[in-house]
């Protein structure tokens, strides 16, 4: 495995100055940067292979089709899916969850049923369930969080009471994008399965940061985005267990997903084509496959340790700042840390950090109900990836000190 400094050389974008300072990119929870290998794959595709897939018999179309289906097989291997047909390409996590919320919920949710999710969900794993519950007459319930700073994670004791046979689906995040909490995915799936509930995991914040095995976790559906794992924007994945996917009606209809069309009606192909109407995002799917290769070349066990260690270091150093609230677990955490000052707003913090070349995220992080529950309107978040260093955390903390001095005097 290369050293962490060699890794920085793989990412062209990192080598620039922002506001007269070397860029310190700590907004990886929003999107990660792309290694040269992924950028090159996109260029190569458009310069050499660009063509529509599954439709043409000419050389370019066959090359494009092979590369697109090769990417599907690569992604299946990346998450240890049993079958490449379980990999549906989407635009990203949000679309993936919406496909389940519409297709699965439409077929299976009835009045009196319960959809269970948690208080720490991103809007993308919350609003679709509100809509599905509204459309079906089902009730939406939430697993509470524990602690004034949510340091206790999910209330697993409350889960016993909440997981009743009425629960038809349990949707939860693998790693919270605001708190950094790592949820025990395999345990949650096991307990949901015991009451017959289908499980949906939002893996947006975990997929690029650790080994992930859908069969070991035992989930029914899992959603993630390519752009949060060193891949391109506009491509994501819905993993679904084959047996479940084949029971679902398509979410969108049109070309590419049909077997036979008459003026009277149409019949559907099996998964994954059933859920990929229209010309797919071929180039970015191929880029995603290359991102899988890249992350495996670094070793995902090492990435998990690297990102987690940086987040814990940031947690410790930020905690020394006067009058700061740092959210989430005190021990092991995903590669991010978010924090708030009672007297300096996150947007002012982010503006000042930008002045030092440090890219942070400030706001509610698409987590409005969680913010309200914690008595906050916004936090500042630093999120880490393979190319970040301990020195960058020192730059972050120094920038925070300067900001506080300016506002507090």
């Amino acid at each position: 495995m290369p050293t962490w400094n060699d890794i920085r050389a793989d990412f062209p974008i990192l080598h620039q100055q922002v506001n007269g300072h070397p860029l310190v990119y700590l907004d990886n929870g929003a999107t990660t940067q792309k290694p040269r290998a992924v950028i090159d794959a996109l260029v190569k595709y458009y310069e050499r292979d660009n063509s529509n897939v599954h439709r043409g018999l000419h050389a370019l179309s066959m090359r494009a089709t092979d590369a697109y289906e090769g990417a599907r097989t690569r992604v299946a291997k990346f998450i240890n899916a049993a079958d490449p047909a379980e990999i549906i390409f989407t635009r990203g996590t949000t679309e993936s969850i919406n496909v389940v919320a519409r297709s699965w919920a439409h077929a299976h949710l009835r009045p009196g049923d319960v959809v269970l999710t948690t208080e720490m969900e991103h809007h993308s794993n919350l609003v679709p369930w509100q809509q599905a519950a509204k459309a079906s007459g089902a009730t939406l319930k939430y697993v509470p969080i524990v602690g004034t700073n949510a340091e206790g994670g999910l209330d697993l004791a409350a889960l016993d009471t909440l997981l009743t046979p009425q629960v038809k689906l349990f949707a939860f995040t693998h790693i919270s994008n605001t708190l950094g909490t790592i949820n025990p995915a395999a345990e949650l799936c096991r307990r949901a399965r015991a009451v017959g509930a289908v499980t949906v995991i939002d893996a947006a914040q975990s997929i690029g940061h650790q080994p992930l095995d859908v069969q070991a976790i035992g989930c029914d559906f899992l959603a993630f985005s390519g752009h949060k794992m060193a891949g391109p924007t506009g491509i994501g994945v819905l993993y679904g267990r084959r047996a479940l996917l084949d029971t679902l009606a398509p979410d969108e209809t049109g070309g590419g997903m049909v077997v036979n069309v008459t003026y009277a009606g149409a019949t559907w192909k099996p998964a994954p084509e059933r859920f990929e109407a229209g010309t797919p995002n071929v180039a970015d799917a191929i880029g995603l496959g290359v991102a899988c290769d890249y992350l495996d070349s670094l070793d995902r066990v090492a990435i998990e340790k690297h990102d987690g260690d940086l987040a814990r270091l940031a947690y410790e150093k930020l905690s020394t700042l006067p009058n700061i609230r740092v959210l989430g677990p005190t021990g092991a955490r995903g590669g991010l840390v978010s924090f708030a000052f009672p007297d300096v707003h996150a947007h002012d913090v982010v503006t000042f950090a930008d002045e030092d070349g440090v890219a942070l995220r400030g706001g509610h992080h698409c987590n409005q109900p969680l913010m309200r529950k914690l008595g906050l309107t916004s936090t500042t978040r630093a999120s880490f990836y393979v190319y970040n260093t301990a020195e960058e955390i020192d730059i972050l903390v120094a920038s925070m000190r300067r900001t506080l001095k300016f506002f507090r005097g």
Binding site: H347, D348, T351, G363, T377, F406
Partner: protein
Amino acid sequence: MSADLTELYQQVILDHNRRPRNRGKLPTANRVAHGDNPSCGDQCSVYLQLDGDRIKDLSFDGSGCAISQASASLMTTQLKGKTAAEAQALYDKFHEIVTTGKEPDEISDIAAFAGVHTFPARIKCATLGWHAALNALKSDPTTVTTESHND
């Protein structure tokens, strides 16, 4: 600190952020409007006591960045005693300042917001309270969201 940032966070703005004027609910208010900036979560309610066409008193409440809070605070000091037409004219002037950086001919505290124009993402912060106030004047009960404005 760069010149741009010094210009953005002028003393007037910092002062209003630290010690907001006319903050809290106005007991005598007969108009209220609420503003939201959904992209960042800033919120601002503006309470007006209208006497005919004239703003007899006003206050604001809410949470947000230093720019949005200082702007709302300063606004309350500027709009007291103004008619609806005068308030609109003052907003037009303020809007020009934050979008172009052009300072007005006469001496006015609102000129402190000229630095906002180099940070386009913050224009919405600066105008949030003003939008709420103008809506309260029009007695438009709908929540203002900055996303529905071009600025």
